[in-house]
Structure formats: structure tokens, C-alpha cells
């Protein structure tokens, strides 16, 4: 029943779509002519200080803005039907629009203050969107999200302080001149940590699966393509500075481990949105690692194609969740490809694009990444983990496909599987179109000449070997019959370690807060409700009350006692003095 004023959905969809077309036009123009435009607006100029707002438009920012506005327009149109029964739909759409605004501000800014505005805006609004459903799980997830992002905000604030050494906050001017400076060393360290918190790399990766408590359109927009890629985008902008630094190698190590860990953890998960979140985390690790190996444009390319198919994947998950009557557990689903052909078409294409099946959009970026890793000589661990993670990606993807679409139907006896929600389908088709074509389209635009890669035959086919192995394993693992024994439980410690993301969420939740909460309980019981009640709360009241009662006994006395006591006082004075 449509009881909301849905004009806001239509209006914002059209506005953002139009904005996307403008950005597309300008992107094509700029990249064909090699233009980049730097606007400066002087807000106040006062003696020797001037406050200037600057905007940098080059092909990277225009392209990213085009993708962000495309995904957000499609997501808003999708949420017209998904959040249909929501009473405060206006609030939701306005939050999403503010999120898009913060992201655009982050993308176009060449100076750190407006990056901070966009960054903080992203963190705050993603918190508001994660806690949108008001229950305990969303509250905890929102707290985890906001506080992890907050660390990155603090890091950027400190970068602002340090970069004031150079006189202005436009960082792009200082990369050439100050590369070996101590200040730049510190700045690069802090920027890397900020990007790691936003993009959920290893020490800070516990918030991304937890943030799946948000509504599905929010996950599609925020946690797949825009918020988590803000960190990667920042590092791409700072790439010229960071490329020789030591911390980049640390980032390589951590992002490869992130990729590997989330790939393993996704294989143990049974919640649909968490599997997709962990796959996002794995791809983010991939982006960060190829960035830290020294290829920023390939990282950007993968960022964009990943945004397309991941948003599509989240939207399909949303349709499935709606259909399953809000069940997100994958063990209840099965055989859906027979009943919802169009949605399973989108699901299939996005999943296969994620795996890197040839000539879908994911193939162009992923295959290029793997071939660059093989071609340039890196060490053995990098090589093994890259290929292993690719295999794991295919593994959990095929497991997901088997569970959701191919195995037996596991839902309850009364069900209604429908595919006719054309609003959601239309929005998914837009992304389907882009997810099929954006790979080739982007590679023709971004790379004006192809990379020269010369590999031996088996190394070239290593990708295919690993993918086939992963798919076979995925197929075998998901053949759960009624009598099959779960041998994972025999190695309980190992499997819980691998499943619970290597126990890192404990690090940022339970580990940090346990000591303080314990201590504060002791303080509260002993001091607040203990001694300070006697010494300042009820204790003083009791003392005063007792004094007053005691005084009252004196007051209720015989009248001549008062007169006599007066005379007695004088007699004492007389006797005292006159003797």
C-alpha cells in the first residue's frame, strides 16, 4: 500500500540521473582532450589570510562522480519499492541524498578541509543510515561503524595540522617538491591509516560485516561502492606521494591479508548479506593491494567495475530477502532460479562478473590485476595469496549460487515467490546493463594504450585453473544432504578462528571495552551507590533530619522554662563577672 509521498523518490532519481548524464558528457570531453579544471572561489580575504574553496575536475573525479550518481539514482528508485512500508521514507531519502552530497564533495576536492567535510559527512551519515532500523543489533553495528570511521577522521584532522606546515591545504601542489620531507612522511602514515579505517582493512575490518544491519538499499549504495571506496580514492589521489614510502609496503601486506581472510570467512557464513559484505571486503583488499603495488589506474578501474556489479548483487539480495519474508539465512533458500528468472539473471551475471568470467565487466579489471602481478616480479607470498584469494572468491561465489539458486527449496510450506516488482527490476536492469558493458567501456576510455604483458602459457592460464578449482570446490561443499556430516566441527578451534574473521571483531569491541566497563561497575557500586551516599547523599539528609527532630523536642517545652532560662543566663553572667 503506497502511503508515502513518493515524489521525493522520483524527483531525486531524475535529478541524480540527469547529473550522471552531465558528468558523463564532461568526462568524455575531458578525457578526450586531456583537460583538467581547477576552480577557486575566494570566500574571504582578510589582511594576509584568505579562505578559498577549491574544486578540481579532472577525468578521474568526473568518472567517479558519474558512477556514484548513477548508482545512487538507481538505488533511490529501487528504494521507492523496497522501503515502501516505511513511515519516514522522506527522512531516508534525504539521508541518502546527503550521503551522495558528501561523497561528491570528497571526490571533487583537492584540499584537505573539504576532504574532511566529505569524509566526516560520510562517516556521520553512514552511522545514521546503519541505525535506521531501531533495534539493538543496529545500535551496536552503528556504534562499531561510527567509532571505526572516527579513527580515520582523527587521522585526517591530524594531517590537516601537519600540512599547515606547507602553507595551504591544497595537497596536490606539494607532492613534487616535498617528497623526502619528514612532514610528508608523517602525513603519508596518517593518510594510510585513515584510508585503512574507511576501507576496512585488517585492524579495522570488523565494522563492514556488522554494518549489514542497515537497510539493503543503504548497503547497495554505501557499503558496496561509495563509502568503502572513499579510502581507496584518497590513496589514489595521494599516490604520487606515497609510492616510495615504507608504509605502502605495510599496506600491501595488510591488504593482501584482508583479501585472504575475508575470502576464507565468506566460505563459513550463512547470512546472505554478510557473504556479500565479506566479498566486498575481499575486493577492497584487492584494490588496496594493487594500489600499493604501484598501479593506481588499475585500482581505480577495478573500483568502478566492482561498484557496478556489487551494487547489483546487493539489490538482488534485497529482492530475495523481501521475497523470503525477511529471512536472510541462505540455508532457507534454494532453487530460486526456477521461480524468479529475471532476478536470478541479475544475480548470476553479477556473481560471474565478480569471479572474473571472461568478457563480463569484472574480467577486464581482475584479469588485468592478476596478470600485472604475475608479470612484474613480486615475492612469492604476494603471488600465492593473490591467486589463492581469486580461487576463494570463485569458491564462495559458487557456494552462494548453489545455496541460493540450485539446491533444493528449503523455505516454509506457504510461500510466495514473485518477480513482478518492476520498480526494483528496472533499477536492477540499469545496473545489469552497466555491469555487462562497463568493463570494456572503461578500459577503452581510461587506458589510452594497453599494458604490455608477456607471460608463459601456464602462468597465463593460472587464473582459469584457480577459478575452475574454486568452482568445483564450491559445488562440492554445497552438496548438503540430510545425512551429511559436518567435518568442520571436528576441528572446532580452527574453523571458529577462520569463520569469525580471525577474531578481529573482538579486538575492537570486547577487547577494548571490557576492562573499562568492569572498572566502572566497581566504581559505580562502591562509590556512587556506596560511600558517596553516606557522605553526601542520603547521609547528610539523615543527619539534618535527626538534628531537626532533636531540636523540635527542645522547642516543645513548658513556657516558664524559656523565661527561666533567660533569667538563668543573666544570673550566670552576673555571677561570672561580679565575683
Amino acid at each position: 500500500m503506497l502511503k508515502n509521498n513518493n515524489l521525493i523518490c522520483f524527483n531525486s532519481f531524475f535529478f541524480l540521473f540527469f547529473f550522471m548524464l552531465i558528468n558523463f558528457f564532461f568526462f568524455v570531453y575531458f578525457i578526450m582532450n586531456g583537460l583538467s579544471v581547477f576552480f577557486e572561489w575566494e570566500i574571504i580575504s582578510f589582511n594576509s589570510m584568505s579562505i578559498v574553496m577549491s574544486i578540481l575536475l579532472d577525468w578521474m573525479s568526473l568518472l567517479f562522480m558519474m558512477f556514484v550518481s548513477l548508482i545512487s539514482s538507481v538505488v533511490i528508485f529501487y528504494s521507492k519499492s523496497y522501503m515502501n512500508s516505511e513511515l519516514n521514507l522522506n527522512r531516508f531519502i534525504i539521508l541518502v541524498l546527503m550521503f551522495v552530497f558528501s561523497m561528491v564533495l570528497l571526490i571533487i576536492s583537492p584540499n584537505l578541509i573539504s576532504i574532511l567535510l566529505g569524509w566526516d559527512g560520510l562517516g556521520l551519515i553512514s552511522y545514521c543510515l546503519v541505525i535506521y532500523y531501531q533495534n539493538l543489533k543496529s545500535y551496536n553495528a552503528g556504534m562499531l561503524t561510527a567509532l571505526s570511521n572516527r579513527i580515520g577522521d582523527v587521522m585526517i584532522l591530524m594531517v590537516i595540522c601537519w600540512v599547515m606546515n606547507y602553507g595551504s591545504w591544497n595537497y596536490i601542489f606539494y607532492f613534487d617538491f616535498m617528497k623526502n620531507d619528514y612532514v610528508m612522511f608523517i602525513i603519508s602514515f596518517m593518510i594510510i591509516i585513515a584510508a585503512m579505517t574507511k576501507s576496512a582493512q585488517i585492524p579495522f575490518s570488523s565494522w563492514l560485516p556488522a554494518a549489514m544491519a542497515a537497510p539493503t538499499p543503504v548497503s547497495a549504495l554505501v557499503h558496496s561502492s561509495t563509502l568503502v571506496t572513499a579510502g581507496v580514492y584518497l590513496l589514489i589521489r595521494f599516490n604520487y606521494l606515497l609510492i616510495d614510502m615504507f608504509f605502502f609496503k605495510v599496506l600491501l601486506f595488510l591488504s593482501i591479508l584482508t583479501m585472504f581472510m575475508s575470502g576464507i570467512s565468506a566460505n563459513y557464513e550463512f547470512d546472505l548479506k554478510k557473504i556479500i559484505a565479506l566479498s566486498t571486503l575481499s575486493q577492497l583488499g584487492l584494490m588496496m593491494s594493487i594500489l600499493s603495488l604501484g598501479f593506481p589506474d588499475i585500482a581505480f578501474f577495478h573500483l568502478l567495475t566492482h561498484a557496478m556489479f556489487k551494487a547489483l548483487l546487493f539489490m538482488c539480495a534485497g529482492v530475495i530477502i523481501h521475497m523470503m519474508n525477511d529471512i536472510q539465512d541462505v540455508r532457507y533458500m534454494g532453487g530460486l532460479s526456477l521461480y524468479i528468472p529475471l532476478t536470478s539473471l541479475c544475480l548470476n551475471i553479477s556473481n560471474l562478473s565478480l569471479c572474473g568470467i571472461p568478457f563480463l565487466s569484472g574480467f577486464y579489471s581482475k584479469d588485468l590485476i592478476l596478470e600485472m602481478v604475475s608479470f612484474n616480479s613480486f615475492n612469492l607470498m604476494v603471488f600465492i595469496l593473490f591467486y589463492l584469494s581469486t580461487g576463494l572468491t570463485v569458491f564462495y561465489t559458487f557456494r552462494l549460487i548453489m545455496y541460493v539458486m540450485i539446491n533444493d527449496f528449503n523455505l516454509m510450506m506457504i510461500y510466495n515467490l514473485y518477480d513482478e516488482d518492476y520498480i526494483m527490476l528496472n533499477s536492477m536492469f540499469v545496473l545489469l546493463f552497466m555491469s555487462l558493458l562497463s568493463g570494456s567501456f572503461l578500459s577503452w576510455f581510461i587506458f589510452s594504450y594497453p599494458y604490455m604483458i608477456y607471460l608463459p602459457f601456464n602462468l597465463k592460464l593460472m587464473v582459469i585453473y584457480v577459478s575452475i578449482l574454486g568452482s568445483i570446490l564450491g559445488f562440492m561443499v554445497s552438496n548438503m544432504g540430510i545425512y551429511s556430516l559436518n567435518k568442520l566441527l571436528l576441528s572446532y578451534n580452527l574453523s571458529s578462528f577462520l569463520c569469525l574473521m580471525w577474531f578481529m571483531p573482538n579486538l575492537s569491541t570486547y577487547g577494548l571495552s571490557y576492562i573499562y566497563l568492569n572498572f566502572s561497575q566497581i566504581l559505580f557500586k562502591n562509590i556512587d551507590m556506596g560511600w558517596s551516599e553516606i557522605y553526601s547523599g542520603k547521609g547528610i539528609f539523615n543527619i539534618l533530619k535527626n538534628y531537626s527532630v532533636f531540636y523540635n523536642i527542645y522547642q516543645m517545652n513548658n513556657f516558664k522554662i524559656y523565661l527561666f532560662s533567660f533569667i538563668l543566663w543573666f544570673m550566670i553572667l552576673f555571677i561570672f563577672f561580679f565575683i
Partner: protein, 340 residues
């Protein structure tokens, strides 16, 4: 008071009222101690007919008690005057004589060690008589006190005043006794202000009597003598608000009028480093404000009587109440315009 006497068709009391006023003037403007004593005696003589109402046994008893205590204090005062005159050249005696004269004046006022008659008598009088007792009757003893006081003795008495005023009032439910103990507390502040300067005492006394007048006229109009009469459901909200403002003003809470004289006194105390005395002033003020707030809070929150025979919802003439609220709230700020 005039209004009350006029409405009760009792013009005899008007006669005694005039003599009361003149007696105070005699007492404070005489240039001999004997004249002071004469004024005090006439004061006593003319106040007794005001408070005694032969139809009511309680008020007769009250007037008798009043007579006994006040006459005892006057006798003592006369005696001390005569001893002082006879031992005029002996300056060693100054200390003790001043203590004794101050004690008798303190008993006249109803101040601390000799205050036991005060709550009793206040309990037996009607509101208008109380107003007279609490304000006018204090003028002449205090001015006489300012002529010849013993600083150490008086500071000790002040501390006792403050403590007894605050502690005694904690356990009371009768509004008259509550105001009696608050009056004892304020006496402590007033005696200290005498020791600072005459002008300051006058200022404090005027503001105090204005506040007492507002409170007592409110209680008089409502005919309320006990605390549980405050919990009435259909009492007009502005009357309760006025009550709140007046109580807080009496306690000395900042934006209201009653804070001003206390502020000046505290200023003097701190500049001249009377730290311990400041502490006692502050703490006892806190206790007093506590029980005022207890009354007001309950009266705003609990409404369990609904009186059908009295229409308290819309008083006929609200202008007095509104005016008094306005004065209580804005006096401090307006006074800065006056003394600019």
C-alpha cells in the same frame, strides 16, 4: 493591615496601630537610653490589644505569652541601662554590659538563644498580626542594637540564628512556623548587616519586609495556614507560580529580588576574609532553600484536594499577584538602571 482592620469594622485597632508606629519612632529617635526603653514599653503595650481577641482562647493565650516574654526582656533592658549609667566611668564593664544589653534586645526580637517563644506565638496569631510581628516589631530592637553592640557576642549569636533557623524548619508542616524559622534565619543575616553598615541593614530590612509582605498577603488571601492546604487541584497556576517565585526569592536564589542583599553581604564577607562565617551563611541558606523547594515542588506536583466551596481558580483581582511576581523577578535588573 489597614485593609484588614478596615474590613473587620474594627477601628479601635487602628488607634493601637498608630500608637505602635509612633512608639517605634520614639524608641529609635531618642537621645537617651531611657527614651529607648520608653519606646519599647509603649510598643509592647500597644501591640497587645492588636493581637488579643477575646472571643478566641488561643489568641488570648498567645497575647499573654507575648506579654510575659517581652516584659521580661524590657525589665532586663531597663536594669542594664541603669547599671550602665551607674558604672559609667568603669570601662572594664563595657564588655559585659554590652553583652547583657544585647541579650535583652535579642530576646525582644526573637533571635537565637532566646527565640523559643517566637514559633509558639507565631503559631497562635493570624497572618496580618504575624506580618506585624515579623517586620515592624523588629525595627526598634535592631536599631537599638546598632547603637551599642558587642561584636564577638553578636557573631556567635548570628551563627546560632542561622543554624537554628535552618534546622528548626526542616521538620515543620505549619506554614506559620516555617516562616517563623525563616524569619529567625534572616535575622542572622540582618544582624550581620547591622555590623557592616546601617544603610545596608535598612536595605536588607526593606527587601525582606517586602518579600514577607508578598508571601503573607498570598497566604492571607488563600486563607492557608498549613502545608497540606497547598495541594489543591483547582488553584490558579499563576498563584502557584507566584508562590514559587516568592519562596525562592526569600531563600535568596539569584535572579529574584531576595538575592540582592545577601549578595552584598557575601561580598563584604569575602573581601574582609570572613571565610568561616561565609561557609556557615552558605550552608544554612542551602538547607533553607531545600525545604522551600520541597514545599513548592510538592505543591506543583501533588494536587489531591479539590475544594468545591472556594473558587480559587480565578481570583477577582490578579493584578496584585502579577505585580508582586514582576517585582520579585525583575528587581535586581531594574535596580541596576536606578543606581546607574
Amino acid at each position: 493591615m489597614f485593609f484588614f482592620i478596615l474590613t473587620n469594622n474594627n477601628s479601635n485597632k487602628m488607634f493601637f496601630l498608630f500608637i505602635l508606629f509612633f512608639s517605634t519612632l520614639i524608641s529609635i529617635s531618642s537621645n537617651s537610653w531611657f527614651g529607648c526603653w520608653i519606646g519599647l514599653e509603649i510598643n509592647l503595650l500597644s501591640f497587645i490589644p492588636l493581637i488579643s481577641n477575646s472571643k478566641n482562647l488561643l489568641s488570648v493565650e498567645t497575647s499573654l505569652k507575648y506579654f510575659l516574654t517581652q516584659s521580661l526582656a524590657s525589665i532586663n533592658f531597663l536594669f542594664m541601662i541603669l547599671i550602665k549609667f551607674s558604672l559609667l566611668k568603669n570601662f572594664d564593664m563595657n564588655n559585659i554590659i554590652s553583652i547583657m544589653m544585647n541579650s535583652s534586645l535579642l530576646m525582644k526580637m526573637g533571635s537565637a538563644p532566646f527565640h523559643f517563644w517566637f514559633p509558639n506565638i507565631v503559631e497562635g496569631l493570624s497572618w496580618m498580626n504575624n506580618f506585624m510581628l515579623m517586620t515592624w516589631q523588629k525595627i526598634s530592637p535592631m536599631i537599638l542594637l546598632s547603637y551599642y553592640f558587642n561584636k564577638n557576642f553578636l557573631i556567635f549569636m548570628i551563627i546560632m540564628n542561622l543554624i537554628i533557623g535552618s534546622l528548626g524548619g526542616l521538620n515543620q508542616t505549619s506554614l506559620r512556623k516555617l516562616l517563623a524559622f525563616s524569619s529567625i534565619n534572616n535575622l542572622g543575616w540582618m544582624i550581620f548587616s547591622i555590623m557592616i553598615s546601617e544603610n545596608l541593614w535598612l536595605f536588607y530590612f526593606l527587601i525582606y519586609s517586602m518579600m514577607i509582605f508578598m508571601m503573607i498577603s498570598l497566604f492571607f488571601l488563600m486563607n492557608m495556614y498549613f502545608m497540606n492546604q497547598l495541594f489543591i487541584n483547582n488553584m490558579n497556576f499563576f498563584i502557584k507560580l507566584n508562590l514559587l517565585i516568592n519562596f525562592l526569592s526569600l531563600g535568596g536564589l539569584p535572579p529574584f529580588m531576595g538575592f540582592m542583599p545577601k549578595w552584598i553581604i557575601i561580598n563584604f564577607l569575602l573581601i574582609n576574609k570572613f571565610y568561616f562565617l561565609t561557609f556557615i551563611f552558605m550552608m544554612t541558606s542551602l538547607i533553607i532553600i531545600y525545604y522551600y523547594i520541597r514545599i513548592i515542588y510538592s505543591s506543583f506536583m501533588f494536587n489531591y484536594f479539590k475544594m468545591k466551596w472556594v473558587n480559587l481558580l480565578m481570583k477577582n483581582n490578579m493584578s496584585l499577584i502579577n505585580l508582586s511576581s514582576f517585582i520579585s523577578i525583575s528587581s535586581m535588573i531594574l535596580s541596576t538602571f536606578i543606581f546607574m
